[in-house]
Amino acid sequence: MKKAELKAGESSGTKVVLNILRWISIIIVLLIFLFPVYWIISGSFKALGEFYQRPPSMVPKSLMLDNFKNALSVRGTKGLIDSAIISVTVTIITMVISIPASYSIARYSPGGQHISFFILSILFLPPVIGVIPLFFIFKTLKLLDTYFVFFLSYMFFNLPFCIWIMKGFFEDIPVELEQAAMVDGHSRFKVFFKIAIPLARAGIAVASLFAFIFAWNELMFASIFGRNNVQTLPLALQDYIGSTGVAWGELSALATIAAIPGILLAIFMQRYIVRGLTFGAVKG
């Protein structure tokens, strides 16, 4: 009996040590992955001199907001407004088009496997392949540097992605529910709007947030299709970086603003992000 007690005591002792080690490792992991985020946010409060300090200034000396003011007065506001206009509009258009499409594929599968394959291949295509021909097509149509070209071209990745993600959510709804409603005499439209859409609302929310964030973060299309009339935030940031970054503080402030939607999405949509980014292969 003594031996058993001893063994139990020993194992609980090692357990505590292991637990402490585990927590230390988790904290180290968090520090590594959050430090760069902290660095850009803290940078947005630093005066220019602080960037060149040795040792590097870990905490900004004061919480001054000059950087935000300056960043937003030069190019930032234009970028912010354009990014907001484009991301919101693109999200709305994407959802209006992709909700019925994904429902149709999930329920009726018109065109069979080929449609799924077509959608997935577009999603996997390197965007640069689409962007060069589209540049010439849009140039011929005199559409470059307009909002319209952003609305349209962002469908290139948003539509396939949202259709693919929501298809999985619609497939999760038991067909029997809809059949029962139809037996009760509801029309197909009513079944779609009153049963399928409410039951797939999590999927719709996930898809729309992804649509928003993809449009918000996008750089390559923006750098080719935009210029003076339309300049999204990533484009404004890239210009800043290109100008051998003197105004690090302003740059950090603008980057912090650009980072906010991604941070919020990560925090509030945690459960669904893995499902989204594995194209529905992993259901968390």
Partner: protein
């Protein structure tokens, strides 16, 4: 390619759906998908057509000569082009090293988070920030951190008495390493969470059975856990291959492919060839090769996700 039996079952299923449930209303199905299909047709098929036509033509906008058909000349040139070879090698290096690094680190993090604790959802949420933050911001972040003169990383290395590399601007090795670090920072948490989902999908009975057999923890890990995680590893390799294959933003922001062309990747080279040097035919030939590769990958992915059990796991 599904097995004949499954294909037949599918056909039977859709037939049942059509007869009992969706009888004669197929117009609706097509109507619902039509807008999406038409837009994608314009955005994907249009460019595809443009690409396949011009890949077989010599068309340089920098030279005042009209485009003319040149057969396989672009492709033959590609295979002898050292710059293309360099971009291809860089992409493959990033792919291989990225997948290895991210899988190993991701597995470590997944194991750390395996046992549930109260703050775990918070930790998971915080870890997802790198994946969703705008790539421009990520690039900028790391440009500051990796700065050879005032970056915090070199300060730490310096105070540890280690060398202080020039990172981004030094040479191919350090440039590629910088890009690898950024990509690994961005994607390791995602890989970890996929593997965590895999770990949680392993039923407890499996471990209990191993315990009854008196297996040591390390043996259980090697003989039981890792084999059962295989579908997740396959998924990760597929997804990371697809994404690193088209890696663009971090390269564009960190090194612009430089110094010289040392860190150029396939996407960046295609971009430069088409939009900077305006050698459209040549860029489109590169595009065709990339499309072929992607179509093969999409096929594998589709076959894998429809056949394996991972989608069934909760």
């Amino acid at each position: 390619m599904k097995s004949k039996k499954r294909q037949r079952e599918d056909v039977a299923l859709t037939a049942v759906n059509r007869n009992i449930f969706w009888d004669k209303k197929n117009q609706l199905a097509y109507g619902m998908i039509a807008p999406a299909f038409l837009i994608l047709l314009f955005l994907a098929i249009g460019p595809m057509f443009f690409m396949f036509v011009n890949a077989f033509r010599t068309w340089k906008l920098a030279v005042p000569a009209p485009p003319r058909f040149s057969g396989f000349k672009n492709f033959l040139n590609l295979f002898q082009d050292l710059r293309f070879g360099n971009a291809f090698t860089n992409t493959v290096i990033l792919m291989a090293s990225g997948i290895i690094m991210q899988s190993l680190l991701g597995l470590g993090i997944a194991l750390l988070l395996k046992k549930p604790f109260r703050l775990r959802p918070v930790v998971m949420a915080l870890l997802l920030i790198p994946v969703l933050i705008a790539p421009v911001v990520t690039g900028l972040n790391w440009k500051l951190i990796l700065n050879d003169i005032f970056g915090p990383l070199n300060y730490v290395l310096g105070s540890l008495g280690l060398g202080q590399p020039l990172w981004i601007s030094s040479n191919r090795f350090w440039g590629l390493l910088s890009i690898l670090i950024v990509d690994t920072w961005q994607w390791t948490p995602f890989v970890a969470l996929v593997l965590l989902a895999g770990l949680e999908g392993i039923p407890n009975q499996v471990y209990e059975a191993a315990d009854v057999d008196g297996a040591k923890p390390l043996m259980v890990f090697i003989r039981v856990t890792l084999p059962l995680l295989r579908p997740m590893f396959v998924l990760i390799v597929l997804l990371r291959t697809i994404f690193i294959f088209k890696i663009f933003d971090p390269v564009m922001i960190l090194t612009q492919g430089g110094p010289g062309t040392a860190t150029e990747t396939l996407s960046l080279l295609t971009y430069n060839t088409g939009l900077k040097y305006l050698d459209i035919g040549y860029a489109m030939a590169m595009g065709v090769l990339q499309i072929i590769f992607m179509i093969i990958l999409a096929n594998i992915f589709l076959k894998f996700t429809t056949s394996s059990k991972i989608s069934a796991q909760e």
